[in-house]
Amino acid sequence: MTQVFLGMPAGGQGNLFEQEPFPKAAHRELGNTQMRKNLRHATHSIRDKRLKVVGELPDWEALRNAGSTIKNNSMATLEERLLEFEKNFTARGGVVHWARDADEANKIVTDLVRGTGATEVVKVKSMATQEIGLNEHLESEGIDAFETDLAELIVQLGQDKPSHILVPAIHKNRTEVRDIFLKEMPVVDPNLTDEPAKLAEAARAHLRKKFLAAKVAISGANFALADTGTLGVVESEGNGRMCLTLPETLITVMGIEKVLPHWEDVEVFMQLLPRSSTGERMNPYTSLWTGVTEDDGPQNVHIVLLDNGRTRALADRFGRTALNCIRCSACMNVCPVYERTGGHAYGSTYPGPIGAILSPLLTGIEVEENGSLPYASSLCGACYEACPVKINIPEILVHLRGEDVDAKREKHKLPTQMDLLMKGGSWALGKGKNIGLLEKALPLGRLAAGKDKKIKKLPGIAAGWTKSRDIPAPPNKSFRDWWSDEKESK
């Protein structure tokens, strides 16, 4: 699937690909009115909450500036940061593993679990393990992985796919969740209502025994602190604490871009992240651990440092800031495209605006499957405005479109309609004289319009426009000509 360019770090594998071109997937998802209703409700309520708690902080912009600079610095010195982290984590009894790609990470985790003799693991929500398809892999190796985050549980029980990075079941409403629980939980109150508090209680009862008996837990990490060797997990429900505290063995899978230089940097990200993600001043629970602590928590502590295309993204100097992402999900919550198509349309583990740049950056844009993602945006800029680490998503989208066009240019011999349009446009708009010449033909456009002075049907690729919009009849005379006639001749 991946095609490696000479001198370019290898692209990522796993759940990073579109399943079909975005417009096609979007067309189908747009037809799912229940999902659209659910998404609209959820995204709109989170938008208001986010704005309120962000507005409370007089130094929000200063925090964003600090956050984005810290991340840039970390990426610029990534090798040193990772080595420093490794040294400190190891010094405190942790074991560091390195994984080039999804397959290698899956294998490392499987071997570690096997080594404990366990056939079951509990899991804290983690994008990295979702990305590498760890659960499916473990299952194929005879190890059951139980997701413990409520939304992940809903997705797992419903044999569904996550559609959001923070709230994977955002596309389901409370009644749908209730129905999944009634159908799939082995022990459940048949009179379960769809009150969220009751649903949370059902999840508690369902998972309690698993937590108390678990021997091995698998987690992701929100950050790693290089100068202390500390890892952090940010969560709400306490399932994270359960997994990070009770089992004997803890295996964390983390992308290499999650490392922060200094432990004090936590003060920046723990202000940016909760307010941007759930619109709370702080999430209920945050756990930090540094290797092994005697007599407290897991005594076998591992971390798998995952590349899987991250170095590939790092090599793109116009796209590498996408690696600064702290997975808060603000960009998708404010995105008008995501709001209407939902996360499944993006195919990859990473949906929404960040997914539209991150997936192709991780896999390489020349991978045909991800060629349509950078176009899944009207470039309205709401994502950039919301992003707590100021990733200029619209600019990277445009950059990746450029990469895509260039890659296709090399592959296709025959120019497409769009190619021809753009070539013609380049000539016409490349000189005042040329556009002036074309504008002489404006009256012709008037002929194309009907009596009501509207153009209602255009041919070729422009037909998409006239499916739901008219075009006004052009004027008789361009401004340029009017200026010559009226202003210059006087």
Partner: protein, 210 residues
């Protein structure tokens, strides 16, 4: 080549254009101008918003308030370093369970314990966050996690307004648990509801003169 060497090599290739690092502009707030009373008020407001129970009391009232919060508990776990006098007003029907090095309660025992009493290291008023750092008066992480009811003592002297003010007070390499209200989830329709896997009841006793 080992995976590590290969990944580090890829990083060097990727950064061949040698991007520069910049001084981090730390222009955000790092010092508070609030009085202690304002800090108390702010922290109370935040915790109440999270649906935690909050009382602001004097040091000598601790036993009385601990007892009243735990009037329905049948058993209570406490860490070795906790001031034992704080538990002195609990009724004789409440079983006290000490968790100490060499005498650890099992997970099953913790699960069968109704409540836990701990102290705390530092609290951030602006975000309503209480930080436990595993000192002897807070105990190991499991005891403040498994029982369904957490009574947490917050000495008023440990309250700061801003997170950056809390940082120097933390020993980062100890296991840290930051608690902002009882366990909760926003996973259904992005609406927050309290009470999932962590303690479903959080009672905070903010103590003056401590």
């Amino acid at each position: 080549m080992s995976a590590k060497d290969e990944i580090l090599g890829r990083i060097r290739t990727a950064l061949a254009d040698t991007p520069v690092t910049e001084e981090v502009p730390r222009e955000y707030r790092t010092t508070s101008t609030m009085s202690q009373e304002q800090l108390i008020e702010l922290l109370v407001d935040r915790l109440v918003d999270y649906k935690a129970g909050v009382e602001v009391i004097e040091a000598e009232q601790i036993p009385e308030f601990v007892a009243s919060k735990l009037k329905d508990a049948s058993s209570v776990v406490y860490p070795q370093g906790l001031d034992a006098r704080w538990l002195s007003a609990l009724g004789s029907e409440v079983e006290l369970r000490l968790d100490a090095p060499g005498a650890r309660l099992s997970v099953a025992e913790l699960d069968a314990t109704s409540a836990v009493v701990t102290s705390s290291a530092v609290s951030v008023a602006e975000s309503g966050t209480i930080i436990l750092d595993g000192q002897p008066d807070q105990g190991r992480r499991a005891i403040s996690l498994v029982p369904d009811h957490h009574v947490c003592i917050v000495p008023v002297s440990t309250i700061v307004q801003l997170l950056p003010e809390a940082m120097p007070r933390l020993s980062i390499t100890r296991p840290l648990t930051w608690i902002s209200g009882p366990s909760a989830t926003s996973d259904i329709e992005l609406e927050r509801v309290e009470g999932v896997h962590g303690p479903r009841t959080l009672d905070v006793l903010m103590v003056r003169g401590l």
